[in-house]
Subunit: 944 residues, 2 copies
């Protein structure tokens, strides 16, 4: 580390820097410096609450420690010493003084909570002398020796990196020797033995004796906490949770208090409200005569916090009052840690409590009603993920309670992708892919790889034993929107026996047995658990929060929907328009497909004949007899007749479809996209036809069916494309086969006129897909306008219909020439699915399975750009299009209808570049309403 | 037209505007106003050359005429009157004066020559009275009456829009009646009869008598010339030649002189140098006792200009001197028109002469040697199209001369796409597609449509009877780089009889007969004509011009080439580097393909195993025994062994390939692109395999071959992609299968080291394809750098090899994030083929056949963006990339290796945005050198 040191020797802060804050000096305003825990205890100390005295070493000191090559910055140790002096004064005890020893804990405390990731050392200050003093002082030698034993064990593990198994092994040996079942059964003598053996371990493993000087202990513990900031698991946690690496951790040095000094002592944790349901009642648990570790170890069952009222009514009253004050102070539900030492209550920690989706929503709504927070704060308190969870299928509570009661909770893994799933456990992807077509299956694997993707596609949920939140299983499952529990380390999966065994359950799960997983909580159950689909209508608190969000947001929220039922759902979820109605989905319905195919198979020839007739009519000086003759000839052509006839049939069907959607959305705009997919999508698959025709050719070459199939095959081959995504689709079809868009526009406008005549207000917006040049747009626009004019002017007393003609912006060139295109378009709608495909050059069909998710795993991409909008590339094109489009047409309406319209981060971006609306799937509308409001609040915050 | 008139009534120029310039007033500096012809006669007049007096009505007057709704602007007619007065004064004749009548011609004259597009009326001033005066004055009544006949005929056709066939019919009747073979045989009486009948036609067809007043004649003729500017054919010509519609035409009114006044009169055209070969000798032809029309009509055979020296030595001397002076004045080869009236020479026109490619090059080179022009001017005089033509296959001159002598020149069509082709005439696309695989065919169609494209692909050339320069045939043929003669109106194609008949040849061409077409000249021949591939080494003048170009240009010219033979060719053509060496083409060679396939079929499993081993090695604290065990396991896996083994085999082959290319280009940079295409391109086609497997399954299900084929099919299906263009290719392969790029980089650097050790200077540049994110580039760069370092440091006394690591910029996101990417790349090379595909969302494979060329025909696209770079979309991305890339790395080397690198317009753009080089196919290198120099000169001009 000398290199680093010499590089920076002149660059450090002055030695006069303040590295240490006493609890009495700090406050929540300098949380960046003190970390969450340090700020919390400082606030409580300032408010006069009973907090064991102590001080906080700042995050800056941690960063400086690393900058200097893992060396204490100048002045730090002196300031620690003076902090310690004040603690000694406040407690009347003295660090290392055998007669009245001060014991301290050293705990990490970063700005953002990183549960389980960082280190703690307790009972610092004990050595062979002070342990006697403590024994005398407390009148409890066993307690003192046990505290000493704990110190050496923790110090060995955390400061000296000694394998903890070595200590555990000695502990087990001693218990067996004296016949003790638990640690608590060990007599004092045994503990003294253990202390001796532990000290030997330390000498042997670290090459040095356990440091007898408490100051050496303290220095080692502070360094260890600093270093825990850069442990691999801490770094991985930060990377996943997008916490910057340069924040550093603070270190809290605090007087030890003991909950294990008899039945007038205890320790516990509590939430100021119920973190599962949000109910406004203290919720928590505590143990009499115990230390924090004991609660965690799970040997004794903690009591609910309410029993403290019976055990120590005065302490309970004091605690309840403190909890109430802290909640009012922080204006949020608090997660509290406390210890009672010989009847005296000490507060060790307060922080905002983690909560379930249901609790988050209820607490936010309740706190507004209680006048504790305002509506914008409530809107910011609910996370988009909460809304998603509340609206995803989840386990029915009673069914889940029964499962737990029956001991069917097998294991707890990482909640890698939310939602609940029940199905047969299947241990390989091929089987899952096969069986998954007919039955509900959950794919269970030690870990997944790209080879498993086909099985994941067919599974209801995914369960793995290994891998974290960015493992293949987690990333792919989130990509697919399927529940996933990952990294369930306590599962033992035997692929040969095809069984799965959980740590605390004897009978293994056999392949084919039902299991249930909750991707929102990480729970894994044996057997089936009933799932429920939440009813938005009953989510009154959520609806209340979203109503408040509606008052805050600038961005409108529309929904994508092709059918009247989608439109109704979207409206129920609060959509303010339909941003994408795909007309061609209607073509796929079984009764229509034959008509569509007939239309397609004649389109080429018929369109060419009709085009030649049009150019004959348009050319100057053609004599009218000649034109008449040509018209009769063209109109008599079987291809033209069949083409126009099938279009007419489709038009009648489409008109009814459009009437349905427009009626469901009456009063609100409905953006209807003209035909988009390549026509061959409506024909049978080339590969299947090839096999079919070959089979007939070889087995029954005389079959009359052969010729017919061969003709179809030849048509499919003619229309086959190497890269259909970049082929003949969208407006390209509309230019080559203008009769199809004529038909569609006619159906839309006739539907609109009929509804308007029936007294409804309808607002169709006709959208041209895949425009890349202004000429495509102007050609399409002229064609559409002509049909619109024909419908509106062709009727007596034609009603006034409010309509717009606009375009998707979904290929880069459209964005780059948006200024020109806006001249012919009254609205833009970003098709960010295709825009992402073309901007990255990724075919989504191919990329996600083949390399894209692997790219996310490898951190080559920060996230899947089809889920979270890529601001640098795709977003830059969007900004160009919005700026230059609005410069050309200031009242241009701009929205987004790609899947990103329902993603909170993408919505924030859409808000920032001034879109008018986002449009997403109906189920995402509530999330989008919330995210739009949060974006508006964040923007206000930034502008302030 | 009243609307237009009223809209603009207050906006016209003041009535004092100058609409008319006498020839004595004008000069070449106001060519915009006077048009080419007007400027030419004014210059000659100013130089004291014998020009019949006259004046020019400006192009502004023409534009104003249209602005006013086809009405003469105020003051124009008065200025024409005063111009006429001065002409009368100069000639001593008087307009409409029977005793000494002035006759004038009215000719159009636009800024840019539009041959055959615009109108002329001669002999204005004749009527029933003046015709007698002219007869008397010339002593030649027949001449006078014939001039009158010509006036009425031309006036009827051009001013009054009477069908010319009506006049021709009368002429024919009269000739039959008097037994005359040609017009010249008609006696005076017959001509007088004809005049009478022509006047009747005029009265009947136009409803008014032929105007007797010469001033009315003049006014009508001026209007007619103005109107010819907006005729359909003139508009089409301008659209094709990109001449703006708002230039307008000037009108030249000039005293008539007559070459048909006896054997001391004559008329002719001449070039100051030979326009075919460029030889520095007067070249032209003339007819004694004839008018210009007679030369055109082709009834009498004109004499070479040299015979004039014999016929009238003095006139010849005067003409030669004038020609010399004009050439020196204009510093360019001139195309001259002259008339000799009774021994006196009159100059009627001078303009820069059209010339063949060979002539253009020779003249430019000669004129520099003569000190007439400087080198930059010479470089600007040669067109890129000339260079293309000079290097395309062309007919062997002797073989062509023989064909012409044998009367095998069938017809003349439009030169729609350059180059010469010989082959069997085939009348339908299906047959052409079939036969074209084994024989040379020329597809002959009345016109083509997208249905014919498969036939066009297999044909050597395309010949059509209908359609202009933007017809389907022309556009597609240019797109394919094939010769095409279009719109050969004199061809009669009988699709039923499968024959083709030309106007002036009796025997029809039968299907299967050989024909030859020259797309550079539009000539169509019966039978075969030998073609020659020009030898660049012998093109000394062209090489001279290109050497001068090299001194002027800033942009370097590199070539794309995959093999040593390409590199040698490129060097011979003057390439200064290889801009794209595609490594995977080497994989397709027959002996290597099995190795490549073995590598691919094992890549997935092997790469995954190797990756897991790498991450095991990288993870902290893994014990070394465990790693060793894993390594043995992985290395023993059959997939890994086979994969690494085939890579090793490929590496040895590739090293030799690279040595070849690097050696051929020694001293110059060679950009080698790492593997790019999707791996399934190296496997058999899915469709063929499907058919094969199905056949075996049905016919011999027990065949041992079946299992093997099925396994291959399953591998191919696994690797199949919906849109391979946007799939797993380029650096995406390199990230997933890093062993492949390791192999390639190792081969490149080992080759470089071995050559350097052998004393050669080699400059490999390693190029990463399809980068879209900076992380891809930095990951690739680290991997490449590690291999490079290994090769260079692993050898004792490793030589210093100059190398670069860079990337293609070929997807929009790379351009949009170029600033970041430049941090890891020392060079950018625009892959504008793919960049055009992704920016437009066009799959070239699908788009060109299915809609793109139709888009060009319909003017939705101005040109095929795969040929001419789209500046608005693709170009804008390039500008962003260059600007932001250079901002991040000022010495960033930037080039282009897409096909656009050889297109002159695209080269101009590349020059304007500051690229370092363009790289094109070796054959296009000479064009690119010229275009690069011309761009530099144009840029200098603009900056001035």
């Amino acid at each position: 580390m000398t290199t680093v040191e010499s590089q920076v020797e002149d660059a450090g802060p002055a030695t006069s820097a303040k590295w240490v804050y006493r609890f009495t000096e700090g406050n929540a305003g300098i949380r960046d410096l003190l970390g969450g825990k340090g700020a919390g205890v400082a606030e409580m100390t300032r408010a006069g609450m009973p907090v064991p005295p102590g001080f906080t070493i700042t995050t800056e000191a941690c960063n400086e420690y690393y900058r200097l090559g893992e060396r204490f910055p100048d002045g730090l140790w002196e300031q620690v010493g003076s902090g310690l002096g004040e603690v000694e004064e406040a407690t009347g005890k003295k660090f290392g003084e055998p007669s009245n020893p001060l014991l301290v804990s050293v705990r990490s405390g970063a700005k953002f909570s990183m549960p389980g990731m960082m280190d703690t050392v307790l009972n610092l200050g004990l050595n062979d002398e002070t342990v006697d003093g403590l024994a005398e002082l407390t009148g409890n030698r066993r307690f003192a020796v046990d505290a000493y034993r704990r110190l050496i064990q923790m110090y060995g593990k955390i400061v000296l990196n000694i394998d903890p198994a070595v200590f555990e092994h000695i502990l087990e040996q001693e218990k067996q020797e004296v016949g003790a079942t638990t640690d608590a059964d060990l007599p004092t003598e045994a503990l003294e033995n253990i202390v001796g053996r532990f000290k030997e371990v330390v000498s042997r493993e670290s090459g040095k004796p356990f440091p007898p000087d408490p100051h050496d202990q303290l220095r080692g513990a502070i360094s260890a906490v600093f270093e825990s900031w850069n442990s691999n698991r801490a770094k991985a946690y930060r990377a996943y949770n997008k916490i910057p690496d340069d924040l550093g951790t603070a270190v809290n040095v605090q007087t030890m208090v003991f909950g294990n000094m008899g039945n007038d002592s205890g320790t516990g944790v509590a939430f100021t409200r119920n973190p599962s349901t949000g109910e406004d009642r203290l919720f928590g648990e505590y143990l009499l005569n115990a230390q924090g570790e004991d609660v965690v170890a799970g040997i004794r069952t903690p009591q609910p916090i309410s029993t403290l009222e019976r055990d120590m009514p005065e302490v309970y009253g004091q605690f309840r009052e403190i909890a109430r004050r802290l909640e009012r102070h922080y204006k949020d539900m608090q997660d509290l840690e406390f210890t009672i030492e010989r009847g005296k209550l000490y507060m060790l920690q307060t922080r905002s409590g983690k909560r379930t989706a249901a609790a988050a929503v209820k607490i936010a709504a309740d706190m507004v009603r209680e006048g504790l927070i305002d509506q914008p704060t409530a809107v910011l308190r609910v996370e988009a993920a909460h809304v998603v969870q509340l609206l995803l299928p989840r386990f029915e509570q009673r069914s889940k309670d029964e499962a737990i009661a029956a001991g069917r909770l097998l294991a707890q893994g990482l909640n890698a992708s939310p939602g609940a799933a029940t199905g047969r456990a299947i241990f390989d992807a091929d089987r899952a892919a096969e069986l998954g077509k007919s039955e509900a299956v959950v794919l269970v694997r030690p870990e997944t790889s790209p080879d498993d993707v086909h099985g994941m596609i067919q599974a209801r949920g995914i369960l793995t034993a290994r891998g974290g939140a960015t493992s293949h299983a987690a990333v792919v499952a989130r990509g697919m929107g399927k529940p996933c529990v990952a990294g369930t380390e306590s599962l033992r999966i035997d692929l040969n026996a095809r069984t799965m065994t959980a740590g605390n359950v004897d009978a293994p799960v056999q392949e084919g047995d039902f299991i249930s997983i909750d991707g929102s909580t990480g729970e894994v159950f044996a057997g089936e658990i009933a799932t429920v689909q939440p009813d938005f209508a009953n989510e009154t608190d959520l609806r209340q929060i979203l109503d408040w969000a509606d008052e805050i947001r600038r961005l409108q929220v529309w929904a994508n929907g092709d059918y009247p039922r989608d439109a109704e759902l979207a409206r129920a979820y609060g959509a303010e328009g339909i941003g994408l109605c795909r007309t061609e989905h209607m073509f796929f319905e079984t009764d229509r497909l034959p008509v569509v195919r007939r239309m397609i198979l004649n389109a080429d020839e018929a369109s060419r004949l009709l085009e030649s007739l049009r150019s004959l009519e348009a050319s100057e000086g053609t004599d009218s007899h000649k034109v008449e003759a040509a018209r009769s000839r063209v109109e008599a052509s079987p291809a033209v007749r069949s083409y126009l006839d099938s279009l007419k049939q489709l038009e009648d069907l489409q008109k009814e479809d459009f009437k349905g959607v427009l009626e469901a959305m009456q009063g609100l705009p409905v953006v209807i996209r003209l035909i988009d997919p390549p026509l061959h999508e409506f024909l049978p698959s080339l590969e299947e036809l090839l096999v079919e025709v070959t089979e007939i050719r070889v087995s029954s070459p005389e079959s009359p069916e052969l010729r017919e199939k061969e003709e179809l095959l030849s048509a499919v081959q003619r229309m086959h494309e190497m890269n259909p995504m970049l082929g003949l689709r969208g407006i390209r079809l509309g230019i080559l086969y203008p009769e199809i868009i004529d038909m569609q526009v006619h159906a839309i406008m006739t539907a609109a006129v009929e509804l308007t005549n029936a007294g409804l207000i309808v607002k169709p917006e006709i959208m041209v897909p895949l425009v890349g040049t202004v000429n495509e747009m102007s050609t399409a626009r002229n064609r559409i306008q002509a049909v619109v004019d024909r419908v509106l002017s062709g009727r007596e007393n034609a009603p006034k219909v409010e309509y717009k003609i606009g375009t998707m912006i979904e290929i880069p060139r459209a964005a780059l020439t948006a200024g020109e295109i806006a001249g012919s378009a009254e609205f833009f709608s970003f098709g960010t699915n295709d825009l992402t495909q073309t901007t990255y050059g990724y075919s989504r069909d191919d990329a996600e399975g083949k390399f894209l998710l692997r790219y996310v795993e490898m951190k080559i991409l920060p996230s899947n750009p089809f889920q979270e909008l890529d601001r640098e590339g795709v977003g830059r094109l969007m900004e160009i299009a919005v700026r230059e489009g609005r410069a050309a047409r200031p009242d241009l309406e701009v929205g987004i209808c790609g899947e990103h319209g329902g993603d909170p981060s993408s919505i924030e971006f859409c808000n920032s570049i001034g879109l008018n609306y986002v449009s997403c799937s109906p189920f995402r509308v509530p999330v989008a309403r919330l995210a739009a409001a949060q974006s508006a609040l964040q923007a206000q915050e930034r502008d302030r």
